[in-house]
Symmetry: C2
């Protein structure tokens, strides 16, 4: 039964379908964070979510299908961008948000698992790229506003600035293993702002 | 028999042990690039290398042990840094080298496989971090020389500059899926030089 309309089996937000999706995506995220994506099957996700196995197979089909829906849900529900009116403060806020995500006890291993799976699965890679596309679209107006204020050169590529800010944090997280801390986040923001002001992203 | 000393079974360069190592590491790299690291076992590597399985098990023990030795060998044999006497040219050379590696038909999938495996295996992660440590130690003198020439502020952290240059290329490769091309490499070098000159890495 749907709480709002009383109709059974509808898919509107708050309905049974939405509750099943929420439970399954949460269980999937927990399982992927624990064991990596290769170590999980849909049966385990159904068990963890307390949902029938056939429901999960029918709706998501495969583990990459489930990962793609999880990333879509994460993109839909992620925090809105900063609007401080100041480029340095906006970039510092984004760097802090990325840092908080990558160092979170659940989100960190989950992102690591998804990115690792994307290395060998095209469907997961496409879903991951869509996720970052949504994040870039959310944050790039911070850069466009700085251009409009005259704080950055005309023609600055806002998407490139957002990627440039993100890159050093992901590099530490995935590749070099160097500390991922407030100093690294502050440096990523400051370096990106300096390079952008120097016209490196026009 | 060793070609130089005539002694059997020695491990000096050019000897039988070195030839076995070379064959096994090459076969392992090919297999990992083809199938990802999770899809390969030591028996397959031995078969591909034309070497006895017990030799491979005795010397490398496990797949992560073999990956670690492969990375050590790659670090030993990788190209020396640029010495152009100009920071922009040195950084452009490093960006081109990273681009060539990540877009190479064999090296690209191999790095992707190793980085993915490092997400869930501590021994592989440690070996990967040692590999980048060696690369940073090789290239950071380019930055120190620019400081000595007065082209960068005193106190510039050379390691951070090398990481900052690498990060946007790895970010595209692993995370965002944006094009990995000469323009991206040139932009990574130019942005890093601009941020470094502005004092972002002091």
């Amino acid at each position: 039964m749907n709480e709002v309309t009383g109709a059974p089996g509808t898919s509107r937000p708050g309905g049974r379908t939405a509750r099943v999706r929420e439970a399954v995506l949460r269980a999937a995220g927990d399982a992927f964070a624990d064991k990596g994506i290769g170590g999980v099957d849909l049966g385990e996700v159904a068990r963890r979510a307390g949902v029938g196995k056939t429901t999960v197979y029918r709706r998501w089909g495969t583990v990459p299908g489930l990962v793609a829906d999880m990333l879509a849900e994460m993109a839909e529900s992620s925090l809105p961008r900063a609007r401080t009116g100041d480029l340095d403060a906006d970039l510092a806020a984004l760097a802090s948000l990325i840092l908080a995500t990558l160092t979170d006890a659940r989100q960190g291993p989950l992102f690591k698992a998804v990115i690792a799976a994307a290395a060998s699965d095209a469907q997961t890679a496409a879903a991951l790229h869509r996720f970052y596309r949504v994040r870039i679209d959310e944050w790039s107006p911070c850069v466009d506003e700085a251009v409009a204020r005259g704080d950055l050169p005309a023609g600055t590529d806002a998407d490139e600035v957002i990627r440039a800010l993100s890159a050093p944090l992901y590099y530490r997280f995935l590749v070099s293993g160097d500390p991922l801390d407030e100093a690294a986040a502050a440096r990523a923001a400051a370096a990106t702002a300096a390079a952008a002001r120097a016209g490196a992203y026009t």
